[in-house]
Symmetry: C2
Subunit: 417 residues, 2 copies
Amino acid sequence: MEYLSVTNAQQCILECVHKLDTESVGLEQSLGRVLAEDVRANRDLPPYDVSAMDGYAVRSADLANIPATLQVIEDIRAGDMPGKTVHAGQCARIMTGAPVPQGADAVIRVEDTLASPDNLVQINVAVIPGNDIRLRGEGMRNGDVVLTTGTEITPGVTGVLATVKQSQVQVYRRPRVAILSTGNELEDMDDPVDPNKIPNSNSYALMAQVQALGIEPDLLGIARDDPVELEEYLLRGLRFDVLLVSGGTSVGVHDYVRPTVEALGVQMKFWRVAMKPGHPVAFGVLQQCAASTAFVFGLPGNPVSSMVCFEQFVAPALRRMMGHERLFRRTIAARLTHNVKHQPGRTEFVRVTLAKNEDGYAATSTGAQGSGMLLSMARADGLLVVPAESTGLVAGEQVAVQLLDGTVFQEGSEFRV
Amino acid sequence: MEYLSVTNAQQCILECVHKLDTESVGLEQSLGRVLAEDVRANRDLPPYDVSAMDGYAVRSADLANIPATLQVIEDIRAGDMPGKTVHAGQCARIMTGAPVPQGADAVIRVEDTLASPDNLVQINVAVIPGNDIRLRGEGMRNGDVVLTTGTEITPGVTGVLATVKQSQVQVYRRPRVAILSTGNELEDMDDPVDPNKIPNSNSYALMAQVQALGIEPDLLGIARDDPVELEEYLLRGLRFDVLLVSGGTSVGVHDYVRPTVEALGVQMKFWRVAMKPGHPVAFGVLQQCAASTAFVFGLPGNPVSSMVCFEQFVAPALRRMMGHERLFRRTIAARLTHNVKHQPGRTEFVRVTLAKNEDGYAATSTGAQGSGMLLSMARADGLLVVPAESTGLVAGEQVAVQLLDGTVFQEGSEFRV
């Protein structure tokens, strides 16, 4: 079988993976989920013309000559209904969000006025009709679709959902994800330290990657290199929507994973991708019945390779299952601070840190890129993508960097670019 | 009192707000938290020289003339300890992660070999000593500090913590946050729809903004415009580390919030910032005792203003309390697709959508920027920052855009820039 390109492998996965069914969740639990229904406004907002400022509701025609002194006939607070009509020479004191009274056609903010005794106020500016008034229905109109299926629930969307009083929302279900590590050399978290063993970091790094997508995975533990034990673990894992198996997918004679999953009916779509780190990465589908499909990702045993493959292949699949349209890690442009060697053939992902300067972002390798160098993954802000056909990148060249977790915020406010 | 600039207001807040105390949490619950301890390696990793490939452990000197045929004396799997020494003319079949046996000084990957009968293998390439061997301690050295206090726990960090078997980690505590809305005009989620009222969206949008930072806030509900009721609510809220009050901080005569919180002992640091939307934003400190300080943010009643102020002022404060060093929303450079009018004086935050093109990002206003336009906040990818002294921006100009939630992922993989 040919090595697939990263892009073709991603396409292959996304052709197999679809949105899951839907469920109803409380608004308080819905952040980050994806709407599975259109949402309509249940009233006009604002429900009447309201003041956009604290100030005075006036007749703009009264302000032909300024300063002008007007009589204050009423105090209108947000939540009040005005009781009087504003006639010539009159105005009403009004709060932000309060209804504009009959007769008034503009609002003057309090900063542009001078209160006087005897319920008089001096207005120091002229205005056009409509000034600082928010019109009925300006925010949303009763019956209009305000949010559509497929919308990710961000805080702004939560605000809109609260506005239309959706205390429950219909969203796409999250996949159930199982994580299995394989290998005789692995030592589990609760085992005593054995200097000849390798700690099982992959299960936990994958757990955190899955958690970062808003999914709480099940850790199945470690399957030893024994076909019977492995089959038992795989059978458990295939009851989930998605099974991540780390280790055991390379071409070595002791790798049982591939023959065992195939014997269990999993149709392997690919097991080699032209990438570095991480080329022994596999993807398969188990069609259990019309309503139930399990997806298996075979990830490399090397910790960094496993994490890089997760970001390229597993994260987009999980996000598609949850109904997202934005599936891939955001990439930004950065300038390389040094040369990067590369031999054409495989897409390479180089762990880099990012620094901002007046030109934008500068990307610098975290150092040695061996696939066992998990520390460098912990330090990385992103993954520099070296195209498969590149013959090497040079200092100063503009490159694409995939942003990793931990980069949503930055140290300074940096309002300038 | 002068209007503070956004940057000065941020500085004022960050001078008052410090890291909270620490607590121990399970590794499974630690994602996104900040380490409050240095973490050291508890062994060398790898614990011995290991193979980086599936292949054959050889003596490089044996490959002076290739192809060379070697005798396979042993099979070494990950987790095995080699039993034999590789002598001249010999090699051992070896798996990725398995210990390199005595006598061997390089590994040849299986793809560059041809297995023969009688435990012989033909090696088709020559290599230098050390080829495809990961040296003992190359990943981490026993006793070395591998993670320092202040490190945000990303999936890569989780992997390192699992590697050193930290099933519990010491992290900074998360602040307890209370959210209070004020106003007679507000209708709560469970109230029947009253066409003359305004739904309380702010509590829920703020809830989601707090949740997006990894904190589960308490919603205190709605305090009506009554000094006694307001005081009761504020007293409850001041028992939290942070109290967010939306509405009631403007200069209108009916605003009770400021005098009431001041009467409760809160020292107001500012109540005006030169920004748009959102200038009635206040910040105060209640020093209750040496060990207990409550911070109060007075946020505008307008939904968009409230959300924008949260991102500029509250989010950095909450993140500092949790021990983060990256406090501010990430900004990227984008080109404007249209002119933006601006009168010097206030920093303006314009809701924009972002699109990628061959030049990088293009920013386009979501349309009307009225502060009641919550729908435009739901649609926005970011906030374009218009500097206070700007006299307007023109199409094609490069601007800074703060990325909002929902922008961590993008639609295409976009490996090219």
